[in-house]
Symmetry: C2
Subunit: 205 residues, 2 copies
Amino acid sequence: MQLYFSPMACSMATRISFYEAGANADFVAVDPKTKRTADGADFRAINPMGLVPTLRTDDGDVLTENAAILQYVADRFPDAALAPKQGLERTRLQQWLNFIGTELHKVVFAPLLSSTANEGAKQFALESAKARLDIVEQHLANREFLLDRFTVADAYLVTVLGWSIVTPVDLKLWPSLARYVARLAERPSVKRALAEERALYTKAR
Amino acid sequence: MQLYFSPMACSMATRISFYEAGANADFVAVDPKTKRTADGADFRAINPMGLVPTLRTDDGDVLTENAAILQYVADRFPDAALAPKQGLERTRLQQWLNFIGTELHKVVFAPLLSSTANEGAKQFALESAKARLDIVEQHLANREFLLDRFTVADAYLVTVLGWSIVTPVDLKLWPSLARYVARLAERPSVKRALAEERALYTKAR
């Protein structure tokens, strides 16, 4: 499989999930500004939105959208138990994937991290942070993970919350979230992904 | 089942899906400003984010997040075939649910429809519209639905695109999308949901 990614972008959640499964992939870096891969190829020919993650499966299918890709990877490596297979618990996983993708990633962090967003958009994003982070803070107050065990939703959440350090969102105001991020950063899959992507991120700047 | 909704909000996608399945629900209106139901109860006690749709199942479970609820309803009424059951086609459904939820709903339409978003945030949302609507325009140029047949993703898309009339997004610039909305508006489930929710929306103002 080929995973198109950009260092420290939300595609890191998929990398973490691969490592959790003891699996690997060809990781193909996409320059987020030029939308080109290292060999100069135009990534938009693969995903017209130019968004990572994009996954080419062993069958040659090209998948997009984080919530869909993460569930695909979880189902592809069932032994790693990265997602409940069905029923209410699967619905709860989808709730969290959707909440992280919409309310945290797109409403709060995407404008704050954007190089094209204006000050008003960044301000509105920052105003939106509290209510949304409060929800997760409350949920994680007495839980180690979003569900009963580590799932792809945790891979996504730790990735998104990690972005706070380059934004005005001060995670210390949400102590359960700060502890969650610190705890997961010691998990081997997350630790490895963070080390690798931080190095690539620094090198690219 | 009880569906907490606000007239013309994204919860209409769930109503459409119920009607597609020939099913019904107790539809409980939530005032989007006060976050109270008609009997004065505090909706945040049910969903702390105060967001619709929220679904209470026959088992008493409270579900949130549109993409999760829509897949739940599709699986609850399998005869209506509102979602592929599994495999690549299910992944494609999840891709579209996620794309609509993140790129269209949260990036483009939510700030444009918000009563608290500042002008900069609305401007950034409007600037973000073209690239995202172009993707769907291209996909629907020669297709009747997002997948091979009507699914819950179409229920979501027709709901979101319908909001364009109260925003500066001029759908005539995307003729395939304009035709898609006009076509689906004649579908009995959509026609009924639109008529009912428009009446409630007008009455509430």
